[in-house]
């Protein structure tokens, strides 16, 4: 885990506290519980269950997810916004090395579809049972297994060469090349 996560017990209070309590034993550790922000680490094996529980909270929507390359794997952060309370509760789950696998929640929550594809493209996290794991962000010519948002990827030195310019075979340029 990262260095800044406090080890002290955070008291659960207010609406954010209620939401965290409703997650029950899925919660491993509470990092922050403030008036409008909550940060919680959850059991990575039960991500689907946590998504269903958060979806059941009235007025909740999945704002987005964040993937972070950390020492032990890819940290996947689910940011749930709840309106009209104006609260953002972030659930963290670790997709551990070496498999980097975690359950997909896209079958239950359509909003997770694109962002899980993005995390797969850029960080190499593997989402089990994702309905449509095609490339979204990276170009089709980008090599397999190169993940540009990982910490060991240098954006200048590791950049793969650009593909050749292509002319579609069925279109003949009229009048030849022009300057």
């Amino acid at each position: 885990m990262s260095i800044m996560e406090p080890k002290t017990q955070v008291p659960l209070k207010g609406f954010v506290g209620e939401v965290i309590e409703s997650l029950g034993e899925l919660v491993i550790e509470v990092h922050r519980c403030e008036a409008r922000r909550g940060f919680v680490r959850i059991d990575p094996a039960r991500v689907k269950e946590s998504a269903q529980k958060m979806w059941a909270v009235e007025g909740s929507r999945l704002a987005t997810c964040t993937g972070i390359d950390v020492r032990d794997g890819i940290d996947v952060l689910y940011h749930w916004a709840i309106e009209p309370q104006g609260v953002v509760v972030t659930l963290k789950a670790l997709a551990a090395r070496p498999s980097l696998e975690i359950d997909s929640i896209a079958n239950d929550i359509p909003a997770a579809n694109w962002i899980e594809r993005e995390m797969h493209d850029l960080l190499g996290a593997n989402f089990r049972n994702h309905p449509d794991m095609r490339r979204l962000i990276l170009d089709d010519s980008w090599p397999e297994g190169v993940y540009p948002l990982r910490k060991d990827f240098d954006q200048v030195l590791d950049r793969p060469p650009l593909p050749e310019n292509q002319t579609p075979p069925d279109i003949e340029p009229e009048g030849g090349p022009t300057s």
Binding site: S2, A63, H79, E83, G86, Q155, N165, I171, P173, P177
Partner: protein, 400 residues
């Protein structure tokens, strides 16, 4: 594959990688049976610039100048969301005058963005007068944005702990004057759009996004508020000075293109009201809290940009650079709603449905043109689809 209509033939119509309505690169594949769209597939990221990766190599103070270039129109919202995420980590108390200035710049941005959209939507429907009017009224707003920040785009106004540039009393009066003077043209524009029977026939019941779908896809902004979801970060999680001024969250019940247009037009009036009140209430004082360092931690910031909620997440390890900075623009959640709203529509209606969420990609690369590498001729122009849309309006106008 399910066959639904007469001959049961399914055809793929490729739109792109040009957007049918804006000069940005994205790729739609419409699966059509006859004229009816039965499925949509979207491919984005033709202009991905890797800003999240780039930010990891910038200091906390440099990042706002990078993220305002995420989008040429939302160039006040993205830095503000990032700055609020950092201020969430460092628990900064921002001076009141700075908060008022942030509110003014963000509302001016909303005003000019919505007017831009109204103009474009008018143009694509064949209403070029609306286009000319809307862009004419947008111009004074751009002028006072320059007055307030020194620039028409990429304002470089926000910084961690406050704003970078103060305004004089004369400049404030100038901003207030523009907010007053735009009220009458806005009302005229709103009435002109709402009272037009052809526009009613053209937009009502087109591209309906249901309330449940809006929530499931995580839609926000006018896309959600046009679908009867009264969510607005400015009211729900107040930032800047939105809790000190009097304004309404505009919400419409039907979820069609017409309602999304109405939401945007009415929001322009609300934005002008907010600017007027800020100009009246603002007091002299400090504009910068002078933040020295960012402690380890993590924070979320979200801002109601013209197109919806802009969400930023920042993680700090106590050094002068963010470990991770996540940017989620509103269109990332709004574009997948096409899967719900375009299905069952006619092809000419898809153009305006796609435009109705005001999709915004990597907006700064607007001038990108895909051309044949050897002949330099464009492979595809978006005018064909616009033409279809304009012809349909013309036909309806004649029938009326």
């Amino acid at each position: 594959m399910k066959k639904t209509n007469g001959n049961g033939k399914r055809t793929i119509v490729n739109l792109g990688p040009f957007h049918p309505l804006q000069e940005e690169a994205e790729f739609y594949q419409l699966y059509v049976e006859g004229e009816t769209v039965v499925d949509v597939d979207v491919r984005i990221s033709y202009n991905h610039r890797g800003i999240e990766k780039l930010d990891e190599s910038k200091t906390f103070d440099q990042v706002p100048f990078v993220v305002e270039r995420v989008c040429g129109i939302c160039s006040a919202s993205h830095p503000l969301a990032y700055i609020q995420a950092v201020e969430d980590i460092a628990h900064v108390e921002v001076p009141e005058r700075a908060l008022y200035l942030r509110t003014i710049v963000n509302e001016l941005e909303r005003l000019h963005s919505h007017l831009l959209w109204v103009g474009l939507a008018g143009h694509f429907l064949g209403y070029n007068t609306v286009f000319m009017w809307a862009w004419k009224y947008r111009e004074p707003v751009m002028d006072v944005l320059e007055t307030a920040t020194g620039s028409r785009v990429n304002y470089a106004n926000c910084k961690i702990g406050g704003v970078r540039r103060d305004v004089t009393d004369e400049q404030l009066q100038q901003i207030g004057k523009v907010a007053d003077e735009i009220m009458a043209p806005l009302e005229m524009l709103t009435m002109a759009v709402l009272d037009d029977p052809v526009l009613h026939a053209r937009l009502k019941g087109v591209g309906i996004l249901s309330e449940e779908d809006a929530r499931a896809y995580g839609a926000s902004g006018p896309t959600a508020r046009g679908s009867n979801r009264p969510i607005d970060v400015r009211r729900d999680d107040p930032y800047a000075m939105y809790d000190r001024v009097d304004w309404d969250v505009i919400c419409e019940p039907n979820g069609d293109v017409h309602d999304k247009a109405v939401v945007r037009l009415k929001e322009c009036t609300e934005a002008a009201k907010i600017i007027r009140q800020c100009v009246d209430q603002i007091e002299p004082g400090e504009i910068d809290a002078k933040v020295e360092s960012i402690p380890p931690g993590e924070g979320c910031g979200h801002v109601e940009a013209p197109r919806g909620e802009t969400f930023h997440y920042v993680r700090s390890d106590g050094t002068n650079r963010p470990v991770r900075h996540k940017v989620r623009a509103p269109s990332f959640n709004n574009i997948p709603t096409f899967k719900a709203s375009c299905i069952g529509e006619q092809i000419p209606d898809v153009a305006i449905t796609l435009a109705s969420v005001d999709p915004c990609y990597s907006c700064t690369e607007r001038a990108c043109i895909v051309a044949d590498a050897s002949s330099k001729k464009p492979l595809y122009t978006f005018s064909d689809l616009v033409k279809l849309s304009q012809l349909k309006t013309e036909r309806m106008r004649k029938e009326w």
